[in-house]
């Protein structure tokens, strides 16, 4: 594999402090300082090393709270890790779909939101203008595009967000378990669009609990457990190992 490196993570560590909102005050901070009280740390990611190259399709699996979403946030630069190095190729259009409709404003119309959110993904006004008709068509929102999105149903909202994220020119797509909204027909449409993009050489990183989808679509699977990469490699092997660990847990629970 001599393809261009898109992301590389070296010895990433992320820790969260265990503190509630009320503790974020000057009074409390002074109190903690005076009492020499150390706040408890939660380790979210431990010593992660990862390299992702162009046109790879990566699947990430793991139990709830294992650190999958934190990892995706580190990759998309939202979280700056406590230690370690993150490199990413800034010439690419990286479209994070940590949830559908990031950057959407309830008061703005669907059309305006396409511009605001599209600009966040790094597109210019012109690029969005050129694609807006095809976005509306794909989302099947011809009659509603000039309505404020606060009046949209959740399906309409998701459709617009998905269409916007995939229509313009994404080169890297980071997806955090966002499918499963919209009706079955739209789901199929989304899947077809995803497969098209993946065949065209789009780099994808998927978090999903749908193992069958990941096995069939990804060419590398990463299993994250307790903030560490437990296993990484061939999708079938990793999925097998993950399933087995899960079975054991379930046996304990039922038995």
């Amino acid at each position: 594999m001599n393809k261009k490196i898109i992301f590389s993570l070296e010895n990433i560590n992320v820790e969260f402090e265990r503190h509630s909102l009320s503790q974020r005050s000057l009074r409390n901070a002074l109190g903690r300082k005076l009492n020499k009280h150390k706040s408890e740390k939660i380790v979210a990611l431990k010593n992660i090393n990862l390299e992702i190259r162009e046109s790879e399709h990566i699947g990430i699996i793991g139990r709830n709270g294992a650190g999958k979403s934190t990892l995706l946030r580190v990759i998309s630069k939202v979280i700056i890790p406590g230690s370690g190095k993150v490199y990413f190729d800034s010439s690419k259009h990286i479209v994070p779909l940590l949830e559908l409709g990031i950057g959407f404003q309830p008061e703005l119309s669907g059309r305006e939101n396409c511009f605001v959110a599209g600009m966040l993904m790094g597109y210019s006004k012109k690029e969005i203008e050129d694609k807006i008709e095809s976005i509306v068509d794909f989302a099947e929102l011809q009659n509603f595009i000039d309505e404020p999105v606060k009046n949209y149903s959740s399906g309409m909202y998701a459709r617009l967000a998905f269409a916007l994220a995939t229509d313009i020119n994404p080169q890297v797509l980071l997806v955090d378990e966002v499918f499963g909204v919209g009706d079955e027909f739209f789901m199929n449409k989304c899947m077809i669009r995803m497969k098209e993009l993946m065949n065209k050489g789009l780099t994808t990183i998927f978090i999903s609990h749908n193992l069958d989808f990941l096995i069939s679509q990804s060419n590398r699977l990463i299993w994250i457990d307790d903030g560490e990469i437990k296993l990484e490699g061939n999708p079938l092997t990793v999925a097998e190992a993950y399933r087995n660990s899960d079975n054991k847990l379930q046996l304990v629970k039922t038995g």
């Binding site: 901070a29 939202v78 950057g103």
Partner: protein, 260 residues
């Protein structure tokens, strides 16, 4: 200071478009719409001038011109500081989900408040048409005189934004300091009410807002140019605060996620 140029161009493009659409929706859904923007500062200015003309024992129309001249930029300054202060915490919905420059929301607030400032300065001039007799060339300095105010407000706002992100209880503290600054500054009352050698007059010389206020009071009320000292003191204070604000944001930006 700012890493990754392409990403920051993206953030700026977003900020600009986001600000425009915010202004757009603000007027779309208000019944009085555009008119409200003129009415609100007009009512505020008229009420204040009626009340304080009595206290200051000045001719009402004379006093109103004096008051409006520095009050309009002060209101803008105060708004910039408090909006920028809360901009990071209020931008949590985006900052925790997608990378956008930490300056995107502060700049957005600066744009919104600058827009509102234009409305209130228009209102002030409409009122001046009735109150003010001597219209002089000195008024043309106003678009430049607002720049030190804007820079000072933005810089102070950035410093407060960092503090507010880590310590939510600084908000009332900042508001108290702003109120104190306002009532001790020569915006409500003229320096002429104090004897030249009195304690109050000496305090005024050390009050930073004295120099900022002079940038507006002198051309509008006294019909003279602001002095060199006014320009030097105000621009120096403004630059120091701006540099400190930029420095603090850059220093702590990697920690924001954990505190938003």
């Amino acid at each position: 200071m700012l890493s990754d140029e392409s990403i920051d161009r993206r953030s700026l493009r977003f900020t600009w478009y986001y600000s425009l659409s915010q202004l757009n929706t603000k007027y779309r859904y208000t019944a009085l719409g555009f008119v409200w923007n003129f009415l609100e500062p007009a009512l505020y200015l008229i009420i204040l001038s009626l009340v304080f003309a009595v206290i200051n024992r000045m001719n009402i129309s004379d006093y109103a011109v004096f008051l409006f001249s520095a009050l309009v930029p002060w209101r803008y300054f105060e708004k910039v500081v408090s909006l920028v202060m809360e901009s990071l915490v209020n931008g949590e919905w985006l900052l925790k989900k997608l990378y956008v420059s930490p300056f995107a929301f502060p700049i957005n607030k600066l744009i919104i408040s600058s827009f509102e400032f234009i409305f209130s300065i228009v209102v002030a001039f409409v009122l001046f048409a009735f109150l003010k007799e001597n219209w002089t060339i000195h008024l043309i300095i106003i678009p430049i005189a607002i720049i030190p105010w804007a820079v000072f407000g933005f810089g102070l706002g950035l410093i407060c934004a960092v503090l507010y992100t880590f310590f939510r209880d600084v908000k009332p503290l900042v508001q108290m300091i702003l109120t104190l600054t306002f009532f001790t500054s020569p915006i409500l009352f003229s320096r002429a009410v104090f004897l030249p050698d009195s304690f109050q007059a000496r305090v005024m010389n050390f009050h930073p807002i004295t120099y900022f206020a002079a940038l507006f009071q002198k051309p509008v009320y006294n019909a003279i140019w602001p002095s060199e000292i006014d320009w030097i003191v105000s621009t120096s204070i403004a630059s120091v605060f701006l540099i400190a604000g930029l420095f603090l944001i850059n220093k702590y930006k990697s920690k924001f996620y954990y505190y938003l």
